[in-house]
Amino acid sequence: MSQLYPMKLINIIANGALEERLVNMAEAHGTSGYTILEARGAGSAGLQTGTLEGGSNILFVLIVTESKLAGVMVDVEKLMKRGHHLACFVSDTQVLRREKFAG
């Protein structure tokens, strides 16, 4: 039975314009990497049809160790405090290789 190790799965849904900021954030916290998916939707910032840059969302996925979670959350809250429209949710997950994500 392969061993699984607990990690935190951070999901951030925001306008594509925030991509660079989020990537920098991930790198600043020295995560093993990051994943981005194109998304559409609607929320407090209105309709995001995904057709124009100004109306396109991304789903930014970040797997981090428990220890890194707090730090990332602080940065995400900073963005929200500045007024950026984004949805952030965190779930428990497990990964196959701890060393890969514990950087």
Binding site: N15, S44, A45, G46, T51, L52, G54, G55, G83, H84
Partner: protein
Amino acid sequence: MDVSNLLIPAVLFFALGFLAQGVKSDLKFPPDLAKALSIYLLIGIGLKGGVELSHAHLGEAFDAVTAALVLGFGLPIVAYIILLAGRLDKLNASAIAAHYGSVSAGTFLTAIAYLNAQQIPYESYPVIMLAIMESPAIIVGLLLARFSRGSKQSNGEGDAREHHMGELLKDAFTNGSVILLFGGMLIGVVVKPGPLATITPFFSTLFMGALSLFLLEMGMEAGKRIGEFRRVGWFLMAFGVLMPLIGGSMGLMVGHYWLGFGVGGSMLVAVLGASASYIAVPPAMRLAIPEANPSYYLTLSLGVTFPFNVIVGIPLYHYFAARLIGG
């Protein structure tokens, strides 16, 4: 004003898209198609502008650029004052103002198609003005927002913001649309006619057809925004129709009295003044004025002003240009 003038592909495809949404058709466009088409169209305009710039009269070109800057820096301030008068909060006002100081290439190109269809000649400088007018309004919006925030500056975040500022100003000049327009322009200037001719079939011959497809999708986009109208409220809706008229008349004045353009050219400057950006400015405002509500400015520029200009505005500006100049 003969209505049959409106029966040009660009306008009709836009209307078709708008209608498709109206009847709740399941017609879907791959999101990336609009992005690809807008990239194509911006390069195409740039190349066209570059070729024309290469045999432009420098003095006239300089005047056009100055006029573009004046409009680009002036219009957002006008918009801002009107919006504040309407009791809109300062940050949303700044963000919206930036959209109306900038331009919509889609609207501009529809106007070109409209003029071509009626064989009305027009000066080439407005194309250059279009490129120039992308950025100034973004900067004005930035500055307006910064002052609006006022006190906030004092607290700790302040520095972050200061530090921020330079980067945001830089963004105004390096945003995608600017790169494509000026890049295309430069290429249009430096490449010799021979090699340039190899890409003409792609960027020039297909241009109007690609524009029609783009406008079909934009019509659908505009249609989708109708649902958002209740969000923005009556005052902003009215602004979305009033502001183009103000910007349009200012553009008309500038085009005719300052630049001495004919009916066609003056009308195009009017369109530059009247149109609101929905490609370059929204993402810029997302970063520069995150506090503003994106559904306000996207709904206004794309859902109200764009359709208004395409259907009503363009023939209207033409009508007044003709009255003023007597074409």
